[in-house]
Symmetry: C2
Subunit: 202 residues, 2 copies
DNA sequence: GCTGTTGTTGTACGATCGTCCAACAAGCTT
DNA sequence: AAGCTTGTTGGACGATCGTACAACAACAGC
């Protein structure tokens, strides 16, 4: 029943990097919509407007695709936070406040974003490569936070511990904000986090 | 090749509640070992030493089994924490310290325990019943913490916010401790949490 | 010991999973 | 315009999934 139109291409060839990106973004959308259990190769390929076989062609398996998706989303989150810090101006404490405030903005504290994290976390225990990827992401995130804290006068020998604490508090608030959005508001989460920063810096 | 021994029963009938519990504990072990993706009805039945059909007989589906497993594990965790608080004696601050310290003890901050949480979280977004179960667990946990904080002199109008903060910090530390155990130690996590309590109470 | 109840088994079923690969066609090169 | 490269298709494949159900057997009551 294909319409034998004069010459409508059945598909378009796309530059490999662009195709990879399209699959990664489709994976993120399916994870957000259907959760980890409903994110099959076929569902992702359909979302990307592509044949199922292409997933195997670009990724060694669906776990590799989830890993790449996590990496991509994490980079986007980090860029969003960095931009918020940059927009806050030169004052160190304002930059730190901007960091935690942006962590609870709608684009970040998004239940659908949590789906990608959960799918990734579910692989951390079993797959050493995924665990290494998580460690790298965590230490990178912590390093940025240590720099912000250092600018606010936190002594070097306390930066590591302070960064661990702030990361944990922000992540814990973020997680709960995603899991049950009605329990407390993003503003409240930001207030809690900023008040904690007061105790670290004063 | 079955040994036709004179009369070895092929199976034993067990009281329904005990059988339910056996399936729940088997589910927890499989989740811990194989993760959410590897926890099939067959794997759980094998772990429980039982036929696959029995799972359908006791639970409406595998999601219901995961929900019941979460409920069971969460109750066990709460009991462990309550016991630690009770063993700490009457002094309010010592009881609060015992609560956070126990939260990072090996039995609680266990990567295998995280698998149950992740499997459960992956259902929260899509299933309203699971979301309600999570909300109930969270508010119960927070209520216990509010009482401990109140005993330490935290004013009533600050208890809610303080409990949210402590829960988030402890959960964030717990999560990271499970995901990459080598990054920081349980003792360090306890120190961070107790120091945070100092700032809330003083 | 016999019988009735019912907890339990084991399998069949259709659906869906991830992976693979030969054939096809889009678009650049000549 | 013809050929070539290769990105892409689409279905086949075996494995595994969750569920349902008829047959069976363990155990209590008689």
């Amino acid at each position: 029943m294909k319409a034998p139109s004069p010459h409508q291409p059945a598909f378009r060839r796309i530059e490999p990097d662009a195709r990879r990106l399209g699959l990664i973004e489709a994976c993120a959308r399916v994870l957000a919509r259907a959760g980890a259990a409903g994110s099959s190769v076929r569902a992702i390929a359909l979302e990307a407007g592509v044949s199922p076989g292409l997933v195997s062609h670009y990724f060694s398996g669906i776990e590799a695709l989830v890993g790449a998706t996590y990496e991509h989303i994490e980079a986007a989150v980090a860029e969003t936070l960095d931009r918020a810090v940059a927009d806050a101006g030169p004052e160190p404490r304002a930059r730190l406040d901007a960091f935690v405030t942006a962590s609870f903005a709608p684009a970040i504290a998004d239940p659908q974003l949590l789906a990608t994290w959960i799918a990734f976390w579910s692989l951390v225990t079993a797959r050493p490569a995924i665990a290494a990827q998580h460690d790298e992401q965590y230490s990178g995130s912590r390093a940025r936070l240590e720099a912000l804290l250092g600018d606010c006068g936190v002594p070097k020998n306390e930066q590591r511990r302070a960064a661990i604490a702030v990361t944990a508090l922000v992540d814990g608030l973020w997680l709960e904000l995603c899991l049950s959005p009605g329990c407390f508001s993003a503003e409240e989460a930001g207030d809690i986090a900023r008040r904690f920063l007061d105790t670290l810096i004063s």
